[in-house]
Symmetry: C2
Subunit: 122 residues, 2 copies
């Protein structure tokens, strides 16, 4: 066992909120990527450690927040069906990943000076 | 009354966590600025709409997370006492504001493409 109570974490994140809903943020971007990779909402949720209920709620929020649905069901073969990103879903994910890379790059040079002033011991 | 249930908000934020504590983030940076401006923890909390209890807890967290305390009490005159940022407190705030400006600037060009795809109506 390790004691991580003093572990320093530097986080930079972008979110778009629509009213009280998170239209996109780090968690939903990860979910979109996982759906794209696995072809299944259930498998994507499992891969990220989310409950099925939470995963479905996130997909419902995603589909409610954008002009058109960004995750859609697909008829499968023997598996019975799956899910995939719509064209707009791919564009949203791509824009978000570009944005995220830009802010991480912008933040990096400033992290060190702050982290050097932090307390705690390893 | 306005219905803001569909208001889109684009948020980019940086946080440093030390274990489960937020060492610095948008709220604590605002608090440090308000303490610097008002010379008082209580007045700073009021200016930001935080309860006194919450404000004290935030100051305690700030002082626990960094190598040295970053808010200190000062002996006042007729007012009986106040608070001010230590030298390290000023450096932390300055670094954070520089970092925050950098990520907001980096994010801005990417916001429009995403916001154009959002649903909701005004």
């Amino acid at each position: 066992m390790t004691d991580d109570s003093e572990t320093a974490v530097f986080k930079v994140k972008a979110q778009i909120l629509l009213g009280s809903l998170i239209a996109i943020g780090p968690g939903k971007a990860d979910l979109l990527e996982a759906i794209d990779r696995t072809g299944s909402i259930a498998a994507a949720g499992r891969a990220l450690g989310f409950s099925y209920r939470r995963t479905r709620d996130m997909v419902d929020t995603l589909n409610a927040c954008w002009r058109v649905p960004i995750v859609e069901g697909v008829r499968g073969g023997s598996r019975g069906g799956g899910a995939q990103l719509t064209e707009v879903g791919r564009v949203v994910l791509k824009h978000y990943r570009t944005l995220d890379a830009a802010i991480q790059t912008a933040a990096a040079p400033h992290a060190e000076g702050l982290l050097a002033l932090l307390g705690g011991s390893a």
